[in-house]
Structures are given as structure tokens and as C-alpha cells.
């Protein structure tokens, strides 16, 4: 019965008794896996790297390394927020408690709910070019490849993404966590095979393999390698060029891939101390650095074996829609590596195993959104029904709030030209939400001193400045740089008036929802000020 134990927690020099919720430390390796999955080199990384030819003078590898190292400040910022306010529930609650409920709702609503409708067709695009098209091409299903490159195919893929994400969330976190871990280990095996293939083969091996398999699998004419260079070739810097300014320009593009290490953040149990804070940094920062290094190594191998000029030329030809390009398919490095196999079966297996990076990750398009919907419904900003679950715990209302709007948005994305531009704001809107959290973190020691001083991070200071403030200011500088470049530089494709208007509408809708909720609750005698208003202790 409730025995005590000496130092059976990470904290030395204290005694704990047996009481509900006292756990041993969580596994850094597990948290690392989920953070690495969120950054996702294969789906997000390879996709956005393929846009690098639009800034041809920059060094892609240096851009990845510099941004990856700098974003450790993001990992420290989020690890600090979690250590100070565990179980709080992410950006929404952090901003709400530190800066105010209205701002917290608007930033979370736009960044974790509305904008993720727009990520559905982006996920679908990745599904098409990394999974459906290469697998169908290997199987010789040309009509399938053609269908999924048309508007109807893009819309169909979007619906597949939306339904898959809904199913994964409906299965419950227990099952989804297991699926993710299986997919991670499988995906790592696939990536390792790609590394080996690129390592042991030479550029001439690749040229002959590509010329043969592109003809066989993708229906390209002979000597497709050389023709790709002729059609798509551009004056591009090498992968490790030291041109600083254009390399920095690549960073606001690269964050599409590496801004998400905070999705691996975790903290459970009580009477936990500074070691859990450090574990979060190790998990998030470790995943960020590891993925950065693996990404840089993969690009170096692509340069060695596939050829940097070819990699840029093929991507340039694809995204610019250049006439005369011998291959119309996206130059997916996984498929290019698979071309080293003569056997279609082995090609299929490798691409299928690599697709586990997609299937383990696809649930993330709705997962955080459902949590935000729940948190805001518990705070009574959204109606109570938004947090309803069925008897099996399926959050059907929150899922409906994600799934249903994503259908017309995916339709517009697939069938209209202009709407694609709006989805380019997908990273920008989340970055604004992160900026809100970074500002909340920066001022936490002063806005909520009692929470800060009661946390294990209170002792960490740099030159007398709280570590959480220093790291979040540096992270904010990074975000502001990205936001400035997105707003002012045409190369990112998001600085057009229509896009700005569309984004403004999303924020206005969020503000209207909050104001209406405040008025309705006040009329009911339940002022929402009560939600975050602090009770005096004395």
C-alpha cells in the first residue's frame, strides 16, 4: 500500500511515494522517431528539394544544413514551452495562456485547422508523384499514371488522403502509434537501400540504367539522360557552392520540410525534472540534425551518382513544364535509385517500401487539427458538439470539420489554376502560428512568472537572459526572415494580392468565430474571460 521509494525518479535527493501518474522516463528513441517522421525527408524533403532549381545559384546542401542547425533554437523553444506547461496542448493553449485567448484561437484556428484543409491536396500531390505514379508506371499501368496527372486524378488522390487520414485517426492513437513505428522502420530500410544503391553505383552506371529503364518504365525515348540535360539544363551552382545570399534565399523554401520537429514533442508523468526537458531537446533537435545530415548525404550521393546537373535539369523540366522533356514524370529519387534494378518486382518493392514514409505520415494532416478543435471546444469557443466522439472514441465531429471543407478545397485545387497559388501559403500560415508561440515563449518569464519560476527551465540562462527567451527570439528572427522573403520575393510564388486576400479572409473568419463565441457565451452568463483569467492565490 502506497510505499515510498528513494530516488526512483530522475530526480536525485528526493523521495516519492507510490501515487497515480508517477512514471519512469519516456524513450528518447520513440520521440525521435515521431519527430523524424514529422520532418520526413522522403515526402516533404524530396518534394521541396525539387523546387531548388528556381534558385539555381544557391547551395541546396548548405541551405539544408544551415537551416537545420539554426532550427535547433525551435527545438529548444518548444522543449521549454512543454517543460513549463506540459499537457497544455500545444500552440493554442500556450498562446492563449500567455498572450490571450483571442489571439491563441485565431492563430491556432488558422494555423492548425483552416490551413490544413489546404495541405490535403499537397499531400495528394506527394501521394501521386511519389507513390501512385511510380508504382503504376512500374506495373505498366499507363492509364493510371495518366489519370492521376489529370484534375480528376488529383481530386481523387486528395480524397484518398482525406479518407486515409480520417481512418488512421479513427483507429485511435494506440493503433496509429504502432502503424507509424512500423512505417518508420520499414521506411528506414527502404532509404538505406537507396543509399547503398547510390553509393555502390557510378554516374555511368546510372546513365545506362536510367536510359534503359526510363524507356521501359516511363516510355521515354532513347538517351533520355542527355536529352533531359539539353531540355532542362540551367546554369546552377554546385550542391556545396559557397554563394551565401542565394543559399539563404533557399531557406524559406526548405522550411516546408524542416520546420516540423516540434511535432515530436512529448512529456508525460509527474515529478519530472530538467532531464525531461533535455530529452525533448535531444529527441526534437536530434531528429532535426539527423534528418538534416541524412538529407545532405542523400543529396551528395545524388550529385555523385545521378549527377547534380541532371537532378536540377530533370526537376526544372518537370516543374517548368518544358516542352521536349523526354520524361514527363517527376524525377523521384526513389524511383531513379530503383532503376538500378533490372527487375520490375524489385523496383516495385523498393518504391513501395519507401512509400511507408507517406502512409505513416498521412494522418498528420488531420491529427493536430482534431486536437485544436477539441481544445477550443473545451474552452467553449467552438460549440460542445465539435468535441464529440462516438462509443469507440472516434472524434467524428472534429474529423468532419477537417474532412468536409477539404473536399471543395481539393476540388478547387484540382480543377482551377489560381487556387493552387493559395495553397502555397500553407507553410506561411503555420509559420505565423509558430511565431505566436515563439513570442509567447519569449515573454513567458514576465507574463506568467509563477509558471516559469515553477518549471525546470527557470535555471537555464544565457548571459542572464532566460534560455527560453533567447532561443525563442532567435527562432522568431528566423521566422520573420522567412515571412519577409515570402512576402517580398516572387520566387516563392506566395506574394500575390489574391493569395494575401485569401489568407486575410481565413484570419477574418477565425476572428469572427471568436467574437461570436464571446458574445454568445456572455449572453449565456459564461464569459470566456473565465477560461484563462488567473485566480489570485492570496
Amino acid at each position: 500500500m502506497a510505499a515510498t521509494a528513494a530516488s526512483n525518479t530522475p530526480q536525485e535527493n528526493l523521495f516519492v511515494r507510490k501515487a497515480t501518474g508517477l512514471l519512469r522516463g519516456w524513450s528518447v528513441r520513440d520521440a525521435f522517431i515521431y519527430a523524424a517522421f514529422s520532418i520526413n525527408l522522403i515526402t516533404l524533403g524530396l518534394y521541396i528539394f525539387s523546387f531548388a532549381p528556381f534558385i539555381p545559384d544557391g547551395s541546396l546542401i548548405w541551405a539544408i544544413v544551415l537551416s537545420g542547425v539554426y532550427l535547433v533554437f525551435q527545438a529548444i523553444t518548444y522543449a521549454s514551452l512543454i517543460a513549463a506547461m506540459p499537457r497544455a496542448g500545444g500552440d493554442y493553449v500556450w498562446v492563449s495562456r500567455v498572450l490571450g485567448g483571442g489571439l491563441g484561437f485565431v492563430l491556432a484556428c488558422t494555423g492548425w485547422w483552416f490551413i490544413l484543409w489546404h495541405w490535403v491536396p499537397i499531400y495528394a500531390n506527394i501521394l501521386n508523384i511519389e507513390v501512385v505514379a511510380p508504382l503504376a508506371a512500374i506495373l505498366g499501368l499507363d492509364s493510371v499514371v495518366a489519370f492521376f496527372s489529370e484534375p480528376a486524378g488529383i481530386f481523387t488522390a486528395s480524397m484518398i488522403v482525406a479518407v486515409l487520414a480520417s481512418i488512421l485517426i479513427s483507429l485511435g492513437m494506440r493503433t496509429y502509434a504502432r502503424i507509424q513505428q512500423i512505417c518508420f522502420y520499414g521506411g528506414v530500410v527502404g532509404l538505406a537501400v537507396v543509399f547503398v544503391l547510390l553509393l555502390v553505383n557510378s554516374n555511368s552506371d546510372f546513365i545506362s540504367s536510367f536510359n534503359a529503364e526510363a524507356q521501359e518504365v516511363l516510355g521515354a525515348p532513347g538517351n533520355a539522360y542527355q536529352k533531359t540535360l539539353e531540355v532542362g539544363g540551367l546554369e546552377a551552382a554546385g550542391p556545396t557552392s559557397l554563394a551565401i545570399a542565394p543559399t539563404l534565399l533557399l531557406i524559406p523554401m526548405i522550411v516546408f520540410f524542416n520546420l516540423w520537429s516540434n511535432w515530436g514533442a512529448t512529456l508525460y508523468g509527474e515529478v519530472r525534472g530538467a532531464s525531461d526537458f533535455r530529452k525533448n531537446i535531444y529527441a526534437m533537435g536530434g531528429a532535426l540534425i539527423a534528418t538534416t545530415l541524412v538529407g545532405a548525404a542523400l543529396l551528395a550521393l545524388i550529385s555523385k551518382t545521378i549527377g547534380w546537373d541532371f537532378y536540377y535539369a530533370a526537376n526544372n523540366a518537370y516543374w517548368s513544364g518544358l516542352e521536349g522533356a523526354p520524361v514527363s514524370a517527376w524525377p523521384y529519387p526513389g524511383l531513379l535509385a530503383a532503376f538500378f534494378f533490372d527487375s520490375p518486382i524489385l523496383q516495385f518493392i523498393l518504391v513501395a517500401i519507401l512509400s511507408l514514409w507517406f502512409f505513416g505520415w498521412v494522418g498528420s494532416v488531420f491529427l493536430s487539427s482534431t486536437r485544436v478543435v477539441f481544445a477550443t471546444a473545451f474552452d467553449r469557443v467552438l460549440p460542445e458538439w465539435a468535441a464529440r466522439t462516438n462509443k469507440n472514441g472516434v472524434p467524428y465531429a472534429a474529423l468532419a470539420l477537417m474532412l468536409l471543407p477539404s473536399i471543395p478545397i481539393s476540388y478547387l485545387y484540382a480543377y482551377t489554376d489560381d487556387f493552387v497559388t493559395y495553397t502555397l501559403d500553407a507553410t506561411l500560415v503555420i509559420a505565423i502560428t509558430f511565431l505566436g508561440s515563439a513570442i509567447a515563449a519569449a515573454v513567458l518569464p514576465w507574463r506568467r512568472p509563477e509558471i516559469y519560476s515553477a518549471s525546470p527551465i527557470a535555471r537555464y540562462k544565457i548571459l542572464g537572459i532566460p534560455l527560453i527567451t533567447a532561443s525563442s527570439v532567435l527562432f522568431s528572427v528566423f521566422l520573420i526572415f522567412c515571412l519577409y522573403k515570402w512576402a517580398t520575393d516572387d520566387v516563392y510564388g506566395v506574394n500575390n494580392p489574391q493569395s494575401a486576400l485569401y489568407m486575410t479572409i481565413l484570419y477574418v473568419v477565425a476572428i469572427v468565430i471568436y467574437v461570436v463565441a464571446r458574445l454568445v457565451r456572455r449572453a449565456q452568463g459564461m464569459d470566456l474571460k473565465m477560461v484563462h483569467g488567473e485566480i489570485p492565490a492570496e
Partner: protein
């Protein structure tokens, strides 16, 4: 009419699982006035989970560790300041020396005695504080110990003037009645007030059978949340008590007996705690079930403000982070 600012016949404030946090207890005592509540209810698990030794190094110098951070102190003021920070977090500070500390590390019985003394002394002090702070108010205050609270806590609460013990009985909340128990189904920690589901069902039935009010004027305050309600989702644990999959895998661990009682009795409101991560509200039939969660270590008093009006179902409520 949902949009009318109809005055409730009773506004209650509910909080739970403050686990020794001095800050949370003080906030709880002020919560009634802050939220203009008629009744305050503390749902259980008042007592803390850790003892923090402050070790004398002689010459009025001391050292201790909190949150894995070492602290060196000189003089009474610094020690008192450190003790306050320990109490705010919900742990119990005690002064000792190196010899006694070694003895405590060796002797589990002595540790238990010290733990009990610290817990009960704190509850006694809290009750005195409640009597002082609530003396001039008409706000009702009910406390129902939870599975982590030893049984002696009940006796101390019973002696308080302005706090009523709610464990195992039906209490009147104006026109409403509230049935309470802090007992829970089995946990991996073998705590004070836990038992198998059939025994828990009998215990709940005993107290619920004493209710004479209709369901729409009935409140259940059961520390353990109903099974499968979403209010009982906790991290799945490995056999060595670590969160599986870095805490991403959650499982329901509430009580089936509590769920059955709610489904059968259909009270207007059921209040729960126990699972600190399970913050939320849900409906089980006509019953509004709430678990406000707990952030006691951060000194935040999570709670729920609920307006009871005797209607078919409770519509006006809000979860708070005070």
C-alpha cells in the same frame, strides 16, 4: 432558451487533483469568489507525491535539489524561500542532516512515517486556512479525498468548520443533491482507495441509492472517470512503467462501474478527475461529464464552472485554467 442570461439556481466550481500544491489550494479557496460560485467542490487527490530533503551543511548553510537542479542556500530566509517553492509545486520540504538522510534512504518505514506526517500536517494547515478564508462567505465547500489520499485525511476534513467531507455520502447543494466517492478501479500504483470493479460498483450503488432528488437535480462526484468516455485517456505504459511510444499511445483506463452508474442514474452532471491528461467534457446520455484535468505542478488550477438550472441537461459550463 440557450441565449438568455438566465440566473442559475446554483453555480458550482469544481477542481481536482491538486496533489499538495500550495498555490492550487490557495487558488481553490479564492475560486468561489473569483467565479461567483455558490459551491466549490474539490474532487480528490489533495496530497502530494514527493518529499524534498533540505540538508544541513552546518554554519547555517543548506543544500537541496528540485527538478534535478541543485540549490545551495545560506540563512533562514533563503531556506524559507526554497521551501515555499517546493510547496508551490506540490512537494513537501523537510529539513534534515546527512546522517538522517542516509537513515531515511535505508529505512522505508521511517520514510513512510515522515511522508504521512508531512501530508497530514499540510491537510490540517489547509483546513485551518479554509476556515479563515471562507469564514466571511456563504460559499459552500466540499472536499472528497481521492485514491491517492490516505484515510486519515477524512478525519482532518471532518474537523474543519467551513469544509464538508463528501466521501461516501449524499450532500445537499441547495435544490440539488451530490453523491461522491474518491475510490477508483485498480491502478498500477496500488494506491489507498482502489478496488476491483464489482466492489467499486457496490460502493457507488450504496451512495447513489441515498439520493432522493430527481436525475436533473442530481450531481455525481466520482474521482474516477467513466470508462471509454475520453475523460479517461492516459498514456499506455510498458511493463516497467514508461509511456509507450513516447506517450503517443493512449488507452482508456476509467471505471466501467462509474460508467454504468452514470448510464443508469443519468444525473444532470458528473464530475471526475484522476486522469490528469483527460481534460474535457462529454455527454453520456443526458449527463454532462467533466474532467477538468490537472496542472498542479505548474501552479495552475484547472477547473470547471457549471451553472445548474434543473433543466433537462446542463448547457452552461466552461473549463477554466486559473
Amino acid at each position: 432558451m440557450i441565449f438568455s442570461k438566465k440566473a442559475p439556481s446554483k453555480r458550482i466550481f469544481f477542481a481536482t487533483d491538486i496533489h499538495g500544491s500550495e498555490t492550487c489550494w490557495r487558488k481553490f479557496l479564492n475560486a468561489g469568489k473569483h467565479y461567483e460560485a455558490d459551491v466549490m467542490i474539490l474532487g480528490g487527490d489533495m496530497t502530494g507525491k514527493a518529499l524534498v530533503p533540505i540538508v544541513s551543511d552546518g554554519d547555517d548553510r543548506w543544500h537541496a535539489s528540485l527538478l534535478e537542479v541543485g540549490h545551495q542556500m545560506t540563512g533562514e530566509d533563503e531556506v524559507v524561500q526554497f521551501e515555499d517553492s517546493v510547496r508551490r509545486r506540490g512537494y513537501y520540504p523537510f529539513r534534515t542532516d546527512g546522517d538522517e538522510l542516509q537513515e531515511l534512504e535505508r529505512d522505508e518505514r521511517r520514510r513512510n512515517e515522515l511522508f504521512h506526517k508531512c501530508m497530514l500536517d499540510t491537510v490540517e494547515r489547509w483546513m485551518r486556512m479554509a476556515d479563515e478564508r471562507l469564514a466571511e462567505t456563504s460559499i459552500g465547500c466540499f472536499v472528497c479525498p481521492g485514491n491517492d489520499d490516505q484515510f486519515e485525511v477524512d478525519d482532518i476534513i471532518t474537523q474543519a468548520k467551513r469544509v464538508e467531507l463528501a466521501e461516501g455520502r449524499v450532500v445537499e447543494l441547495g435544490d440539488f443533491q451530490m453523491a461522491s466517492t474518491g475510490w477508483a478501479n485498480r491502478t498500477p500504483w496500488d494506491t489507498y482507495r482502489e478496488e476491483d470493479e464489482p466492489q467499486l460498483a457496490e460502493r457507488i450503488n450504496r451512495v447513489v441509492s441515498e439520493i432522493t432528488a430527481p436525475p436533473e437535480r442530481t450531481v455525481y462526484s466520482f474521482h474516477c472517470p467513466p470508462y471509454g468516455s475520453g475523460l479517461d485517456e492516459a498514456p499506455e505504459l510498458t511493463s516497467d512503467m514508461r509511456p509507450k511510444y513516447a506517450g503517443r499511445s493512449s488507452v482508456p483506463c476509467g471505471s466501467t462501474a462509474v460508467r454504468e452508474a452514470i448510464e443508469e442514474g443519468q444525473p444532470a452532471l458528473s464530475l471526475h478527475g484522476h486522469i490528469h491528461e483527460g481534460k474535457g467534457s462529454t455527454r453520456i446520455g443526458r449527463t454532462l461529464s467533466i474532467n477538468p484535468g490537472s496542472s498542479y505542478e505548474q501552479g495552475e488550477l484547472l477547473g470547471a464552472v457549471v451553472n445548474l438550472d434543473g433543466g433537462k441537461s446542463v448547457k452552461r459550463f466552461v473549463l477554466t485554467s486559473g
